[in-house]
Amino acid sequence: MTCTCRITSYYNSQGNIRDFFKIRMSILDVLVGVGMTTSWPKVDYAGPPRALPVLLDGCVIGSLSSGEADKVVAHLRRLKVSAASVIPDDLEVGYVPLSLGGTYPGLYLFTSPSRFIRPVRNISIPSSDGKDIEHIGPFEQVFMEIKCPDGGNGGRSTTFPATHEELMPTAMLSVVANLTPWSDHNQSPRNMYQCQMAKQTMAFSLQALHSRADQKLYHLQTPQTPIVRTKTYTKYGLDDYPSGTNAIVAVLAYTGYDMEDAMILNKSAVERGMCRGQIYQTETIDLCEGKSNQGQRIFKREHSDKAISSFVDSDGLPYVGQVIHGNEPYCSTINQVTNSKRVYNHKGSEMAIVDYVAVDTKNKQHLQKKRVNIRFRHPRNPIIGDKFSSRHGQKGVCSQLWPDIDMPFSGVTGMRPDLIINPHAFPSRMTIAMLLESVAAKGGSLHGKFVDATPFSDAVKGANGKTETESESLVDELGSMLRARGFNYHGVERLRHMVSDKYQVRATGQVDQITRQPIKGRKRGGGIRFGEMERDSMLAHGAAYLLHDRLHTCSDYHIADVCSLCGSILTTAIIQPQKRVVREIGGLPPARAPKKWEWRSLWKKLFWIRFFHRVEAVGFLGGI
């Protein structure tokens, strides 16, 4: 709807400045002509409910008897629409009728520029030569009766009919909602889910990729235009920014790998390029940042530095097209004063390719390069765990890449599906439009035509009172297109949620400085919390060793010495661990009891507040 809106302007359609004084005077003339009493200073006039005040651009210009108001408003609107009259077509006729406890009644007229207006059809005017489009503003529209052109009356009674009509029934839908084919056939929550998901698609989001330095950019390598599309899709030219591919979809409970919203992708189709994509990620290195060594550092690699010479060129920057694996260097700087070097390593374990290196020349006073943008490209081909969706709020996760030869095939045409989804995705979700889309897309692909799937299009009456499409229903239209059976086509979108960005696995790894327990956060190589509920579950299973492994061995395992005199493990001195032989001579046992670090730090804290714990180490001291 927004695209039909416009802002009222100082200029008319010829580009000349409008004379607002003249416009106001002519409106005043018209109002006086239809029976408005003009107001004069110091003259009292009747207020509501007998008469209604008339305001023009915020100034009281007169009053109107309540009985006349409806007629005056209708007359004003008629003049507004007709081209011949002096009333401008962007006049806002805010008529607040008399009501009990409602807004203060009156006729509020606005002619000023910079107001938001949108077109609707005035159906109270007999439509001749298409002059029935009226521009209305946000103030007046809440007091108007505007119906949706879906053929119904919107629940209005005949005594109180609609005076205006929206231009399109899809005017109520947003841009994303307008892209769902036949959304009028879907259960409404599914359309809502789809609106959420359409924004997560890994799409072809821009054309000027070569000169962009976005922080993170998802890009689909092999997009396609959907066979089934809405009018909005064409109108907004979304073919320049496609967001998915057409896929041959089998709705089949095939191997069990498509249970619970999982889906099977055809391995060969993926190898041929289906749903391939990449992530572009830009790292910015600014040598002017930081206080101390400003202006001292430059991008450079020492010629003697052979360790990084295969990754970094002598100017300290990476080679374009270079493949960089995890923790490999990609950039090097040298401090000219201290001659110390710094090497930037690629974070994470994922492979990346240097796509583009740009030197920022924003700072004119530094002739040397000080700020550099390095764009990396991460190839992301579909793998198990990646998320895909149809255009009807039906998302799923790839559970297998299934070889072509193991896929079911059509005996007549030899077609194999690109994708298998489970039939259980349909009954409870009631995405009928998805079924319609598959039937229509198949017909469209067999005939080499695009199929229009604008919602509510069968309700829009054409000029001759007939529906736009010749046939009575969708089935009539598509039925003749289908000559053979088999697999169905769907618009499939690849969503940007990928396992490579999400997986979080560790046995042991980094630990917290103070508690010596595993840290949080995927980025830092942390673990997923094994909390109380998980502990309860392990206990219930009797998996004691697993529990011990998780909560002790992989967590804050620690060995400490206990003082034989005071029984404390706290000491100011650093005790060198004794050699095994020395311990044996001293009669000490070779194995040392591990203590939880958490316990040790608790001890420390208690010690500060004058508590003292001791370990009764009698057993240890006695020896064997």
Binding site: R377, D404, I405, G411, L482, R485
Partner: protein, 318 residues
């Protein structure tokens, strides 16, 4: 047990044979054989495809992997593939895949110097071996043959350049779809359609007509002379059951009976152009034989003779 033999002698009858298309009947065997043949044709018949790309200059709009992927998917004429070595078990080059026994080198050099967009196609790939070249589709009718048209790799605008070296190797479709020589391989059971003539005669002409038209494909027709329903093309039947449902709806169940002949198959083979469709079938049979030999001659099979029973003897007998 020795005496009984389940050996069958399958027959092949070729219906239609073009360079990239073959249609044939396979009779007197079962679905396991037919499916084995189909699977081998798609995923185990070797071809040659570009497997390694060294990019020297790429200032085109497509990134390096994209171009490498596109190069890999270009079908190359692969008559040599059966006699070539897999680079992983090539003795001559120690598996680095750079020798003449297991690889073919390609060069591509293209630079756009005019204002017109330059299409870099498979025609611009120069092969070190004249028997392994990108498949030429121009002589197949349909295109304007005066203009040489290959498969477009990338389009270049003024000043953009693409220079690369590519190594093509032998491989099979199981490893990567680019090595699959088959665009489509499919088979269907041959349908056997019987019309119950007596019951059919009880229909009026309109009913016959609506019956004929109920089939989405043209299987039946009405003889213009005798006004009898005749089967014109049983193989057009797609096992869609539409005519059976129609007969049921007309209150005449058993009007037609349709069986699938379970020992006879109609194969359709379409090749990518890497090898001829006929050669694809022959190679597939050759590879199937090699695979069966591997089972038959392996130590395990002889040892497990008891387990295999009659099958073991059968396998050893050939």
């Amino acid at each position: 047990m020795e005496g009984i033999s389940y050996q069958r002698f399958p027959k092949v009858k070729i219906r239609e044979l073009k360079d990239d298309y073959a249609k044939f009947e396979l009779r007197d065997t079962d679905a396991s054989m037919a499916n084995a043949l189909r699977r081998v044709m798609i995923s185990e018949v070797p071809t040659i495809a570009i497997d390694l790309v060294e990019i020297e200059v790429n200032s085109s709009v497509l990134n390096d992997e994209f171009i490498a992927h596109r190069l890999g998917l270009i079908p190359l004429t692969s008559e040599r593939a059966m006699s070539m070595r897999f680079s992983r078990d090539c003795d001559a080059c120690d598996g680095d895949g750079q020798c003449e026994f297991c690889s073919v080198e390609f060069h591509l050099r293209a630079k756009c110097i005019s204002d017109q967009t330059l299409d870099v196609t498979s025609k611009d790939l120069y092969s070190s071996d004249h028997t392994v070249v990108p498949v030429d589709f121009t002589d197949n009718a349909g295109y304007d043959s005066t203009e040489p048209r290959g498969i477009i790799i990338v389009k270049l605008r003024r000043g953009q350049e693409l220079r690369l070296r590519a190594i093509a190797r032998k491989g099979i479709g199981k490893d990567h779809a680019k090595w699959s020589p088959a665009a489509t391989v499919t088979f269907m059971y041959e349908p056997e359609i019987h019309i119950n003539e007596d019951l059919m005669e009880s229909l009026t002409l309109e009913e016959k007509l609506s019956f004929v038209e109920s089939s989405p494909t043209k299987v039946f027709d009405i003889d213009p002379n005798t006004q009898q329903v005749v089967v014109v093309d049983p193989e057009a039947y797609t096992y869609d059951d539409e005519v059976l449902k129609k007969a049921e709806a007309m209150g005449k169940p058993g009007l037609v009976e349709i069986y699938a002949k379970e020992d006879s198959f109609i194969f359709t083979v379409e090749s990518t152009g890497a090898i001829k469709a006929s050669q694809l079938v022959l190679n597939a049979i050759e590879i199937l034989k090699q695979k069966l030999d591997a089972v038959r001659l392996s130590e395990d099979t002889v040892e497990a003779d008891d387990q295999f029973g009659e099958l073991g003897a059968h396998m050893r007998g050939g």
